[in-house]
Subunit: 375 residues, 2 copies
């Protein structure tokens, strides 16, 4: 269980293609996990997700703990069965949500107390509690409880890192299920020495895999990338690396080049629901009047269900008329696009042309991003 | 084109089973048409609709004329191609919407002027204009422009009926497309003599089929049924009969017994989006807390996608968490249920047991409707 087999390593970057074996199936990496916060990837069925090329999805422990409740999910045989998703699932620990969504949180060395964003009720997460929640939900890959700090506050990051490390050790101690891979989470804001300290400490504890948290939350792209540059070389080669909450095609390509294997982000699905459709030539705002009579599919040549059956004009009509079907068709296209990108990244790594692909993809994508801005 | 082949007539009621042949396929009747107001049956793809057993859908001319526009639809090869529905389509004339949705309408003998409910712009429908719109949209079955009057106002109904009849004759005169069946619409409120006058007059003009309009808009069930009783015997046996805007399982069964072949209604889809799930034993309000831990499918034994894959508990969770997937799964189930009912009605007519089926179905359904009310 949980073998991580590296199939190819790029000679000119840290990119690698691998297969991560889990109890619910093999995950070819680099992999992108769509976000299924509340036991559903918004608007889609599991069959539709699979058809987009999705192999791994993310569930949010914080949300599932509050509603419908981790114990209820356990009584239904775990999240896979409850939501009818047969492939691998990854759950975050809820740390990020507690520190970003929940009002009135109070952190102490033992854990964090917070109010539910749904009904204001008071709850407490400790490392042991979070592991109990994740074991009940039953994902294949689970995360330790961490404290997500403001990335640029040095003093806070130093303090938070001490707690995050103690919590990581307690999570490792508490975790029992052998059919779950527990990942540590490297923190430390934008401070290279803290990130390195964190990577070294967590590696010394020995986790199944390593996540990099606290990025893509307001720092510059240069800070994100240089943080990866100083962190990833300290993580063991033979373990999967997961960059949490990333990302856009650009960020994914940059992170793959630096050795990241796993990604999750609401980006493609959220953008889709706002009418932003991803193509190799940039993003289309499908609500734009210029698409009103456009008979082309979103992206000519795309093999997704949406592009095979509908025109831009029809999609625009559905968005303007506020038809729910619009959200579905757009989500299907964007996930198909991002999964196409991941498969292509993998293929290019294996054939030794990843950097060329990265450059040519980004040139076309950025150019049209500019066009999109002016349209 | 447009053969209406009666396969069986019930010996003890006016129910009949037939096949209505249209350019986009055969429609077994009695048939229920889900409503696709804005070029989409809310939340579903055409493939999902087909999987529910749907063979005919309805489009609203008023809405499609306003948005995206009938001329745009025509440039895309008609509504079938625009929305990717390959089966038969029926369009209403927009009369009902103008008289129920549009603010500030003014009716005169030549037509009706109204404001768009979307942007307040001023528009005018005449019989010729409505036929032009319906020919552009390109449905298989199209309706004449009619005036929908308050069902219980005698003086208004007398005046409106004169206009409705003149408009019907002008629609028949204006209509050109031979691949469309034009239906007349019997009006006359709850007044038997007006309904009979209308049925006789329209029959004398000679339409492909006959609709019964202006019912299920506030009159009692007894008034609805007795209006059918006095109207249908005056309509030609060999032509399809369409009861507009109906309905519930109860109303469908009563109308089939009186000789109706075609139905359309937002009922099953709208109720679904509000969490009302139809079963043979009545309607479930799936948001109810009693379903929070219920591992059963919505209706045990149901073969729809929703019941084959999800528990009531999961559906309730999706509704409570406001996940769009809830609307889809509920819509699929309710349409599957109503299409199961239509297929069963047809089967029972053919084997001569329709009345027994009607009685046993309604006994179980009404009983549980009461239960539902108390739960």
């Amino acid at each position: 269980m949980f073998e991580f087999e590296i199939e190819a390593e790029d000679a000119r970057s840290a990119a690698r293609a691998a297969v991560y074996r889990t109890p619910h199936g093999d995950i070819p990496t680099p992999v992108f996990a769509p976000v299924g916060t509340q036991a559903a990837v918004k608007t889609l069925t599991p069959e539709e997700l699979e058809a987009t090329g999705t192999r791994l999805i993310l569930g949010n422990s914080y949300h599932l703990y509050l509603r419908p409740g981790h114990e209820l999910i356990a009584r239904f045989g775990g999240l896979h069965r409850f939501m009818n998703w047969r492939g691998p699932i990854l759950t975050d620990s809820g740390g990020f949500q507690v520190f970003s969504l929940a009002p009135l949180r109070k952190v102490d060395d033992d854990g964090v107390t917070f109010r539910s964003h749904i009904d204001g009720s008071i709850h407490r997460f400790t490392p042991e509690k979070v592991i109990a929640i994740e074991e009940a939900i039953g994902a294949d890959i689970v995360m330790v409880l961490d404290e997500c700090s403001a990335p640029k506050d040095r003093v806070y990051n130093e303090e938070a890192l001490v707690r995050t490390h103690r919590w990581a050790a307690r999570c490792l101690e508490a975790h029992r299920r052998e059919d779950q891979a527990l990942f540590g989470i490297v923190q430390g804001g934008i401070f290279p020495d803290l990130r390195q300290e964190s990577a070294r400490y967590l590696t010394s504890l020995g986790f199944h895999g390593y996540a990099i948290g606290g990025l893509s939350v307001g720092e510059t792209k240069e800070e994100t990338y240089s943080t990866l540059d100083v962190t990833i070389p300290l993580l063991p080669r033979e373990r999967p690396r997961y960059l949490m909450g990333v990302g856009t095609p650009e960020d994914i390509l940059e992170a793959v080049a630096r050795g990241v294997d796993i990604f999750d982000c609401v980006f493609p699905t959220r953008v889709a629901r706002n009418g932003g459709l991803m193509t190799r030539h940039g993003r289309l705002n499908i609500r734009n009047a210029r698409f009103a009579e456009d008979p082309l599919p979103v992206e000519p040549g795309c093999t997704c269900y949406t592009c095979q059956h509908y025109s831009r004009a029809y999609l625009r009509h559905l968005f303007v008329a506020k038809e729910t079907l619009a959200l579905r068709l757009a989500t299907i296209h964007n996930l198909h696009f991002i999964q196409w990108l991941m498969a292509e990244i993998r293929r290019q790594i294996r054939q030794g042309t990843f950097l060329e692909f990265k450059n040519s993809f980004l040139a076309a994508y950025r150019m049209s991003d500019q066009q999109a801005r002016f349209s």
